[in-house]
Amino acid sequence: MSVVESPATRPTGGPAPHRAPGRASRARRRRQGASTPWLLSIPTLILLAGLLGYPLIRMVVLSFQNMRLRELLSGRTPPWVGFDNYTKVLGDSVFWTVVGRTVLFTIVCVIISVLIGLGIALLMRRVNRGVKMLMIVAMMFVWALPQLVAAQIFRWITDSDFGVLNYVLNFLPGVNFDNHSWFVNPWQGWGVITTLVVWAGVPFLAITLNAGLTQVPKELVEAATVDGATPWQVLRNITLPILKPLITIVTTLSVIWDFGLFTQNWALRDGHPEPVYQTLATYSYTQAFGQSRYSIGSAISVITVLLMLGVMAFYIRQMFKIGEVD
């Protein structure tokens, strides 16, 4: 990690020796050493177990019960219904449409973001210093904006009556975007959402990948260029292979983030996404808190987590593999 460079070099006055460690105290230390790490970890583990682990179990339990508003208000234990919720959800074509939409959005969005991110990262090494600075500053501002604020800005820009997007597009010859509503046609609406997510996601990707590019040895690239390799060949045979572990990680993270899309479509649709703008996350949320079908919502959440499990396991394995976790 390149996070702290200073500690190693900073002068630290070694603490003055207090007493010579006797044999007894050393033995005590060793015994202490065995339980200390667990004592230190206990508060974290309790909190994670209580507010992540227990809800996770509760979510699974809930998905086998039938929790409605009546049970919530009376505090009675909801009746067990076995796999009813799952049969209901899995037998519902609406659910499968939502799954398909979420998967399609994730694939499209991740591919576009990673490609643009990689392209910008490479571009940053080609431009003048001033332009590079401008690019970094621009991306930092976008990266720093809260998701919800970014979504609100996009909602304003694409507003049908006073949005600047329609105004600007009207300058194109032969088109009329007066009062054009971007969310009537779902393809256009999803185009806006995708643009927002890509726009907000590119800074992380480009800046991280650009940092990774410093690992590519200069001599290697120069030698290849002198030997007559085209820039494309250099990219394919030198740069990308070296960058591969990093690309894998940022792609995996992008998949996890985009698959859980909630804020953007939620905010752009005023907190009431129409059926065509539902993703798995908003769908489960709407079922639970919009329609008080807590059990159906839980079942959808369980399925969502199961769908994500493969990707998550891959990410964690990757983190272990690159040796950061040892």
Partner: protein
């Protein structure tokens, strides 16, 4: 020409450089446009905001939108709530997380890998999925519609990242320092107070700022658990839009006020943010 270390300059054409610079500038303008547009809107008087021909500069710049955002119902209340909830969550996560980070970074013990696995895995669990049981749980102990309930939830939300990042910072302190101190007769506790804690200072700042951003930006949980009087500014932005029509000017001003602390904090610690997520893959 760029003269950065490691940038290859062999075999580069002038035309290519010009093209690259042009694309770079266009890209930057495209990225910045929404940011510019929110500022442009926020300083316009109401009639200019709703002009059919939008102007690219406020003709009569005004702070009216900002004052009306501050005067809007619940704005100050929600700002205060957000601050309380965020500070409680960050402080709690820092104390609790530091201990666990210390355990993972400095001790080798049976179960260490399991703890790392848990910390990494829970970062990936979509929190929205847990919202239903969480809501029901907090409901039974009467912690919904309370700042305490949300604070605890946020604490847990930022805890895994806190542990993970602090672990990295502590690992960065050479173990030899600990060992030297131990040989000189320090106890474990003294090593902690005199070596690890002071040297982790910058890491604690970076981690807490990141936690602050996370908690400050959250709105789904607080919007679900609490009524508007006990929400934060993000949720306020969301409420604001559901009233009849949208007052774009004040909304954009509110969005700017809400973003300012986060943007400033982010720009200060941006170097550290990506490292926690991709640590090890970049050997900068």
């Amino acid at each position: 020409m760029a003269r950065d270390e490691g940038v290859v300059t062999v075999g580069r054409s002038m035309a290519g450089t010009i093209a690259a610079n042009t694309i770079g500038v266009i890209f930057s303008l495209f990225m910045l446009f929404p940011v510019y547009w929110v500022l442009n809107t926020a300083f316009k008087p109401a009639d200019e905001v709703l002009a059919l021909t939008p102007t690219f500069w406020p003709e009569h710049p005004t702070f009216a939108n900002f004052t009306s955002a501050f005067k809007a119902p619940l704005f100050m209340q929600d700002m205060l709530n957000g601050l309380i909830v965020t500070v409680l969550a960050v402080a709690g996560a820092l104390v609790v997380g530091f201990l666990a980070a210390l355990a993972i970074a400095r001790f080798s013990f049976y179960g260490r890998k399991a703890i790392i696995l848990v910390v990494l895995a829970v970062q990936l669990v979509p929190f929205i999925a847990l919202l239903i049981p969480l809501f029901l749980m907090l409901q039974t102990v009467s912690l919904t519609n309370s700042l305490i309930g949300v604070s605890i939830t946020y604490l847990v939300l930022i805890l895994p990242y806190t542990v993970w990042t602090l672990r990295g910072f502590i690992s960065g302190i050479p173990r030899e320092l600990d060992e030297a101190a131990l040989i000189d007769g320090c106890t474990r506790a003294q090593v902690f107070w005199r070596i690890i804690l002071p040297l982790t200072g910058p890491g604690l700042v970076a981690t807490s700022v990141y936690g602050f951003i996370q908690a400050w930006n959250e709105f789904i949980i607080i919007n679900t658990l609490n009524s508007p009087a006990k929400q934060n500014l993000m949720a306020w932005l969301l409420q604001n839009q559901t009233t009849r029509g949208t007052a774009w000017g004040p909304l954009m001003a509110g969005a700017i006020i809400t973003s300012i602390p986060v943007v400033i904090f982010f720009l200060i610690i941006q170097r550290n943010i990506a490292t926690g997520l991709t640590a090890g893959a970049v050997k900068g």
